[in-house]
């Protein structure tokens, strides 16, 4: 066994690098040691402590460091588009600890906060107001914090006026009242992921935040998958190979029509919450059903974009680190009714340093 395959040898090297102040290289070596033996408590603790130290808080968001390294991407037991399993080398990058919430999005875009959620000045295309209104209607319902079960969406359309026989009537008379644990706290805009997000709306936030030193962007598929794996090698889920359960993942709750808070369940090995389940997350890549052939031509410019991770509505077999979905990426900015108008599509920011500090 050489040093590359010996977790304890890698651990000693990582400690030496850390002592020299080379924290990012140390993190990569700790990560390799952890991938070889995730049960080594000393390695896991040293790695976790260093990754905590390398986390960055910017714009009110915590970004977790994903060390540079090579990982095995894809799966040979899922859909054909997940294969072949192949090595991918990535540089170090940061992933937001959670998906972006509606309140965070509005705050960072300079918009009115939820439940208004509109630009303070006219920033959109001609139909922006109508489309954004429809998006926000979905977001509002899925920010309901104490709703134990959704009903007909009309019952959740707060502020909507209903008339019967010429007289205004309360929505609850017509559509009932959704059951709630606590009616005093029906909404939580900062703990639920923003939904009904178009690819271009996600890109708009990235563009607004990026500077010459730090670029915020959607992760590539490879960056997303490496982050989702949390340092584990060849496993199906962020926590390992054990099947999803309600204690591990927000999935298979199609009938509930609600989303758990983003930090309700344990994070993965990189400290990232809800990498699978909760909401589908946009990536920057376009979809190709042929999987990962080395010599494939690039997909067409109007092809779908890839979403990853599965959602609260999906079955257990889909909430894996390798399952791929695609969706068209138009939105109201292009005057087109979006395919994104779904309460299980959101996004997470990836952070990249253009000029590394030091």
């Amino acid at each position: 066994m050489d040093d590359h395959d010996d977790p304890r040898g890698l651990f000693r090297r990582a400690r030496a690098l850390e002592a020299e102040g080379d924290h990012r290289r140390a993190a990569s070596v700790y990560d390799r040691a952890y991938g070889l033996d995730p049960t080594d408590a000393e390695v896991a603790e040293a790695r976790r402590t260093l990754l905590d130290r390398l986390a960055v808080v910017e714009h009110g968001l915590r970004f977790r460091y994903v060390p540079a390294g090579t990982f095995l991407m894809g799966s040979d037991v899922g859909d054909p588009d997940e294969s072949p399993v192949h090595p991918v080398r990535l540089g170090g990058h940061w992933m937001a600890e959670t998906a972006v919430s509606w309140s965070t999005y509005c705050d960072l875009m300079g918009w009115e906060p939820p439940p208004i959620g509109f630009p303070k000045e006219e920033q959109g295309a001609k139909m922006a107001g109508f489309h954004l209104h429809e998006e926000n209607k979905i977001r509002l319902q899925y920010c309901e914090d104490a709703t134990t079960r959704a009903v007909d969406w009309h019952a959740h359309a707060v502020g909507q006026k209903w008339r019967r026989g010429g007289e205004e009537v309360d929505a609850s008379e017509l559509f009932g009242t959704p059951p709630r644990e606590d009616p005093r706290r029906p909404y939580r805009y900062d703990t639920k992921p923003m939904v009904a997000v178009s690819w271009q709306s996600a890109e708009a936030l990235c563009e607004r935040l990026s500077t010459d030193e730090v670029r915020y962007r959607l992760p590539s598929e490879a960056e997303w998958e490496r982050a989702a794996r949390g340092g584990l090698v060849g496993r199906r889920h962020p926590w390992g190979d054990a099947p999803p359960t309600p204690e591990r993942c927000d999935f298979d709750r199609f009938d509930a029509f609600s989303i758990l808070p983003m930090r309700a369940l344990p994070p993965n090995g990189y400290g990232l919450y809800a990498m699978t389940g909760s909401v589908w997350e946009w990536t920057s890549d376009r979809y190709d059903a042929q999987g990962y052939p080395a010599d494939a031509p690039p997909p067409p410019a109007d092809g779908d974009r890839v979403l990853r991770g599965g959602s609260w509505a999906d079955c257990a077999e889909v909430v894996t680190v390798s399952f791929r979905m695609s969706r068209a990426s138009g939105d109201w900015r292009t005057g087109r009714w979006g395919d994104h108008l779904a309460p299980n599509i959101g996004f997470r920011l990836c952070r990249e340093e253009i000029t590394p500090a030091g």
Partner: protein
């Protein structure tokens, strides 16, 4: 056919479709996604069939499927033998006691787009065909709500007309009954004096066959 439908029905290299799983797009009021929105749901066809269920009972009742409350309007029902059970109270025998429609047929559900489309379908419709059985005597335990219960000595339900429609305003019961009638369901009743208030225990056995073979 809209552009979206065309796209969903094509197996494009640059748009996801799965040979293992089914993608449903739910776009209607009971699936809350706002106006024009859709809830996306990937499901495993090996797990069973999502049967969309409508029901109307002539008195308070909590429908049971294999002994458990039906908490969804579209429960995923595994392949094999099942029992629907209804313990209905405060029944007026002059009118319909039960109407039920449970349907899964991806090709004609206007509110759910299924990719890829599933062949065949499942229908469980209330009918005076001798398979919807009742008793007016309370069963001693819950065995009657489960498959395997011997109900040969339970009488069959007969077709009974609905109560008169409510005039002058929107009638949600009439709307629901109309929807079930469109699907072929028939209102069923039990014998008794009009105006009486009786209780009935109703059961229906059905089978969900494996659709389209193994995927």
């Amino acid at each position: 056919m809209t552009d979206r439908e065309l796209k969903l029905n094509s197996l494009s290299r640059y748009s996801k479709s799965s040979p293992l799983f089914i993608l449903e797009e739910h776009g209607h009021c009971e699936v809350p996604a706002g106006c024009g929105g859709v809830v996306l749901r990937w499901r495993d066809p090996a797990a069973g069939v999502p049967i969309t269920m409508w029901s109307h009972t002539g008195g308070p009742c909590e429908p049971l499927l294999d002994g458990s409350p039906v908490t969804s309007g579209r429960p995923l029902v595994p392949y094999g033998e099942h029992v629907l059970a209804f313990a209905v109270t405060e029944i007026d025998p002059a009118f319909m006691v039960l109407m039920f429609a449970g349907v899964h047929r991806s090709s004609d559900d206007e509110h759910v787009t299924t990719v890829p489309p599933e062949p065949g379908g499942v229908s469980v419709l209330s009918a005076a065909d001798g398979t919807w059985r009742y008793t007016l005597t309370e069963p001693p335990d819950d065995a009657w709500t489960l498959p395997g219960f011997e109900d040969a000595d339970w009488p069959s339900m007969d077709a009974v007309a609905d109560r008169p429609p409510v005039e002058g305003s929107w009638d949600p019961v009439g709307y629901r009954i109309g929807k079930m009638t469109e699907r072929g369901a028939v209102g069923l009743g039990v014998p008794g004096a009009p105006g009486a208030r009786v209780r009935a225990w109703i059961r229906k056995e059905f089978t969900v066959p494996r659709m389209g073979g193994d995927r």
